[in-house]
């Protein structure tokens, strides 16, 4: 394992873009809770990976914090009732992924009483074993709140080398998104306490909180919170240069350590775990307040929003309610985006609910994207190469992908693309490069699945053939044995017959002799 001192020296990653932040417009107002909607829509699967097992039925009354699904492994994440109310139905509703798609949701009608029943909490978490801590975090539905919603338990334990350092990512880096900044400003103590818990759960003896260089206020508050506690492992705040996408996990690791996550590996292979600051605060809420992940901070912003701001939102709240709470839109909205403007997902409907990974909702008018110009041919200008943080050749990938040459695209390391959108942003020909990469990855994955399926079918076929051949051989063996036995039996019969003949012949001779005697 390579040696490095986390965050002592800051490194530069290749490429990237300096973008206008547009963050402060949503930070002028204090954090406020968003109003509870008439119905909460809770997709069973809120994360990458399989959904948990559903524990409720239509008509059930639930209280806030009550588990609605159960996780059967570290890859599954349970969801909990965001408030008290009645389960109206289990029904398909619009969701953010896949774009325009639907997924099974629990529809919950809040009763307005907002009763809450906390999870069981340890008396003093510092006495808990790491496994017990991770188990509690898992039961609290903890997943990466930065947007990827990766199940945290699966990040904290697994088959990897011992963890030396924990990186808490507080550098959002995409324009407009300010939910983490608001969290760090308003709840620095919660983040520090969560950081201690996560350090304990991973065994890390070094914790770095990475924030952007223009967040001076945040640094002061975090440092004050660090001084106020007697932390087991040193916790440091490091300010990194705001160059998109420095908040990407791989890029942040490169900036802080100068090391790269192996293309076929994980940060854990470098002895690192990278988590979002909001995940740390949520860990603290689970272990101290017994409050599972039932709400999150969401930035509602963009030029299409009349009053951009950050809300504390109960999961399941449809986006339309948040836009209304932000005093509505400033004009005809052309795009609703989940996430930031560089890599966010386009949303098909404002009925889509907030889930654990929904960090930001952007409303954009047609003039804000100005994408009506035609797509021109690639002129090979190389701007995309200059800005690619993964050092890929985006224009070459594109040319192979439009020619359906997926294998060459794979050889050009298509799967190392982090879909940050830098290439498409600078492209003078306005080619939607990231769409092409996603499509190419999809085709290759599908083909990989097909290949795997074919391999499995082949293995099954060969096993069956072998089995049949074996059975045939056994049967033949049996038959031959029986034939041998029969033959043996025939011979025995012959022998018997011969013996009888002999006996009879002897007897006749005896009789003749006797007859002679009698006569």
């Amino acid at each position: 394992m390579a040696e490095f001192e986390l965050g002592r020296h800051l490194y530069r990653f290749p490429g990237g873009l300096k973008l206008r932040h547009h963050k402060q417009i949503a930070c002028r107002d204090p954090l406020t809770p968003a109003p509870l909607p008439e119905r909460l829509w809770l997709p069973l699967a809120q994360h990458q990976g399989p959904a948990g097992e559903c524990l409720v039925e239509p008509g059930d009354r639930v209280v806030g914090g009550q588990p609605l699904t159960r996780a059967r492994s570290d890859r599954e994440v349970p969801i909990h009732a965001p408030t008290s109310g009645t389960v109206e139905a289990l029904r398909d509703g619009p969701v953010s992924w896949p774009p325009g798609g639907q997924a099974r949701c629990i529809v919950l009608i809040p009763d307005g009483e907002d009763r809450f029943e906390p999870l069981d909490v340890p008396e003093d978490w510092t006495y808990e074993s790491t496994d017990a801590l991770i188990e509690r975090l898992r039961a609290g539905g903890l997943a990466g709140l930065g947007g990827a919603v990766f199940p945290t338990a699966a990040k904290l334990r697994g088959e990897f080398p011992p963890i030396r350092a924990l990186i808490l990512n507080g550098s959002e880096c995409e324009p407009y998104i300010s939910c983490d900044e608001m969290l760090m400003r308003s709840r620095p103590e919660a983040i520090i306490e969560g950081a201690r818990m996560l350090a304990r759960a991973t065994g890390a003896d070094d914790v770095v909180i990475a924030i952007e260089d223009q967040m001076g206020e945040v640094r002061k508050r975090l440092n004050a919170a660090i001084r106020a506690v007697d932390a087991e492992a040193p916790i440091r705040v490091v300010q990194v240069t705001t160059i998109y996408p420095e908040g990407g996990e791989k890029q942040l690791i490169q900036v802080l350590t100068g090391q790269e996550v192996p293309h076929d590996g994980l940060p854990q292979d470098l002895g690192l775990v990278c988590l979002n600051v909001a995940t740390a605060a949520a860990a603290r809420d689970i272990l101290i307040d017994g409050r599972p992940v039932i709400e999150r901070i969401v930035t509602v912003s963009g030029p299409g929003i009349r009053h951009p701001r950050n809300f504390v939102v109960r999961l399941g709240t449809p986006i339309a309610g948040l836009i209304a709470a932000a005093d509505g839109t400033t004009g005809a909205i052309d795009r609703l985006v989940l996430g930031g403007p560089m890599s966010g997902l386009p949303l098909a409907s404002d009925r889509i609910p907030i889930t654990k990974g929904s960090n930001c909702i952007l409303a954009l008018r047609p003039e804000d994207t100005a994408r009506e110009q035609p797509v021109m041919p690639c002129i090979n200008c190389g701007e995309c190469i200059r800005v690619c943080p993964a050092s890929l050749l985006p224009q070459m990938l594109y040319k192979h992908l439009v020619a359906d040459d997926f294998d060459t695209a794979r050889e050009l390391n298509l799967f190392d693309c982090i879909e940050c959108g830098c290439c498409a942003h600078v492209c003078p020909s306005h080619i939607p490069l990231v769409d092409h990469y996603r499509h190419g990855k999809g085709v290759l994955r599908e083909r990989g699945i097909e290949d795997a399926r074919a391999a499995r079918a082949k293995a099954r076929f060969e096993a069956r053939e072998a089995r049949l051949a074996e059975r045939e051989a056994a049967r033949r063996e049996q038959r031959e044995a029986r034939e041998r036995r029969l033959k043996d039996a025939d011979r025995a019969q012959d022998e018997v017959r011969a013996a009888i003949e002999r006996a009879r012949a002897r007897a006749q001779k005896d009789t003749g002799d006797a007859g002679d005697n009698d006569a």
């Binding site: 966010g344 002129i379 769409d435």
Partner: protein, 348 residues
Amino acid sequence: MNLSLAGAPHLPPISTVGGVMRQVLYALVPGIVAHVVYFGVGILFQIALAVTFALALEAAMLTLRDRPLKPFLSDYSAVVTAVLFALCVPPLAPWWIALTGMLFAIVIAKHLYGGLGSNLFNPAMVGFAAVIIAFPIELSQWLAPRSLTPGLPGIGETAIAIFTGQLPPSVGWDAISQATPLDALRTGVAENRLVTEIRAAPIFGDFGGLGWEWIANFYALGGLYLVWRRVISWHVPVAVIGTTLLVSTPMWLLGPDIHPSPLQHVFSGALVLAAFFIATDPVSGCSTMRGRLVFGAGVAILTLAIRRFGGYPDGVAFAVLLMNMAAPMIDRLTRPRTYGHDSDRDGS
């Protein structure tokens, strides 16, 4: 609510193909003005002719290929091709030189290869190579710089010369024409004269050709503007000029009698123009940063070799065309190392 499901990014684009090409045209203005100052208005006629033919041929080819006219005519790529071509031909070249050049540039080099973005070769240089091979006489009739002639032809005389192929009787061809400095050098060296002797002729200036050296300076000025605006990267110009100096300096030090000085090389012919405007053509050049260094170095070495050993006074056009052929391979061999991979060509 009618929502677009177009993928990220959702920010307005920061540049357009037309915008990039327009920047290139602006950057050529100082060099063109200097050209007019030293050699008269002929160059403006050449530019006007080439642009007209280029746009007409572009429109015709787009129609034949069933492509939309507006986006492709307004991308300025044909205009850039035409202007670069015009800057390489003599100011009084007859009108059909521009037509022939544009036929080869726009019709053959560009559209028969698939149009914008698909051409293997630099269209302007294909056009120039075609006319210099087909019409060597017309392409060798250069004017002497203003200070060396009794009077450069005016607008009317220039128009008559270009459209009729005849100079007006008032202007004597012998009085205004002059071999280019590069021509003078190659014939001089071939006649076993010393470089210092040859350079004593009035057509030579302080370090290059008289007039030419200042035009090159203004091209460089425009080129630096493009580098500053990030329209082109620094790699190609640095590689072309750097390699020219690097290769010609030791030769000149060893044999100053037969080898022109490094500055003479840089400031004559189309080298500076090529360094900033021709070898930087993105479509036919390299796109990786290391590849651009190799590409520029190759252009410089081939140019020097053609100037020294070849049959044409300036080899820039042929050097660029030869490197165009190598560009895809150079790109492949200079692939940067992907994040998280050990070596350059580490597969998935």
